[in-house]
Amino acid sequence: MSKIFLHTIASIKAEIAQPQGSSDKLGLLARGLRWHNHIETEEMAALMELAVYIQGSHAVDCWEVQRVVLEILTERAELLHLPYLLETFYQKGKRGDDRRRLALKALSRVAAHTGDPQALQALESGLAHVKKDTRGWSIGYLMDSYSCLERPLPQTVVQRLHTIAAQDPSPDVRVEAVSALAQLGLADEQAVSAVLAAAQAMQPQEHQH
């Protein structure tokens, strides 16, 4: 058990409880948690208690703390963390891109280790997300998860990838979907030709940046 880790969590809670808590101070304290090397069961339990605590706190911006919780979960998440990860993934509001990216990564860890249907379903739902980054991250993490499970992608996912490859508004996401299908030997010639032609057309624009 690390007294420093638990003390830092207590300090974060105390700062949040202040009438005029400082998000800068919270960020500094949270960074102290990031570099703690040996997070054991008791520390994880305290961290998850903190994660729930900050969800109910709206007086001060707790994003830096939530980010640290999610970063640690990308390396430590287990099945018991699934409810928190699902809630976080579907949560709306500021910093949505970063929050969803970290939640997806942690969910993919749970999915890859356990094959949990809810974790896999959340990853699949990311394919239909309104934000292109989330759709892109979801493709990669779904591929990873099913690869680790040594299972074929479900037909619903394959079908969705074909749809993304043909119709997604983002050329980058279309390339990612076609590339994923190609890795599975499922990319059709028409889709490949379309993304190659689109990339050719985009080249002059890329040079403008």
Binding site: E71, I72, E75, D172, E176
Partner: protein
């Protein structure tokens, strides 16, 4: 070559996207004086291109890709970067571009990793194993 000739151009496309994104990201970071990360991505780009050959050094290129992907690891500082002006105010357009390039780099690095492995018959290890 792939067993499916029509996907060969796709691997090359992803490799071009990977290199173009590394270049653009390093340039953006130089512009905003984030020199440590800019130098790192410059170095990755140079290492990858140096290994193009011929003959192509696939193992060295895969090591470069792994190095790039560590920027997206759970405790990496890279995804915490915020580009700011002289007085420390965040720059929304620059940060959006950083987010777009980051997402493209991650995706194109992974697709290029698969391309190099498949193309050069190297067995992939799962990220979670």
């Amino acid at each position: 070559m792939s067993a499916e000739p029509h996907v060969d151009g796709l691997g090359e496309l992803n490799e071009r996207r990977f290199l173009a994104t590394l270049h653009a990201l390093a340039a953006l970071l130089h512009t905003h004086k984030i020199e440590t990360w800019a130098a790192r991505f410059d170095g990755d780009l140079k290492d990858y291109v140096d290994a193009q050959g011929p003959p192509r050094q696939a193992g060295r290129q895969l090591a470069v890709i792994e190095h790039v992907l560590t920027a997206f690891g759970g405790l990496s500082d890279f995804k915490q970067l915020v580009l700011t002006d002289e007085v420390g105010e965040p720059l929304p357009d620059a940060n959006q571009r950083l987010a777009d390039l980051s997402a493209n780099l991650w995706a194109s690095a992974r697709s290029t990793q698969a391309f190099v492995m498949q193309h050069f018959d190297i067995i992939r290890r799962g990220e979670h194993q």
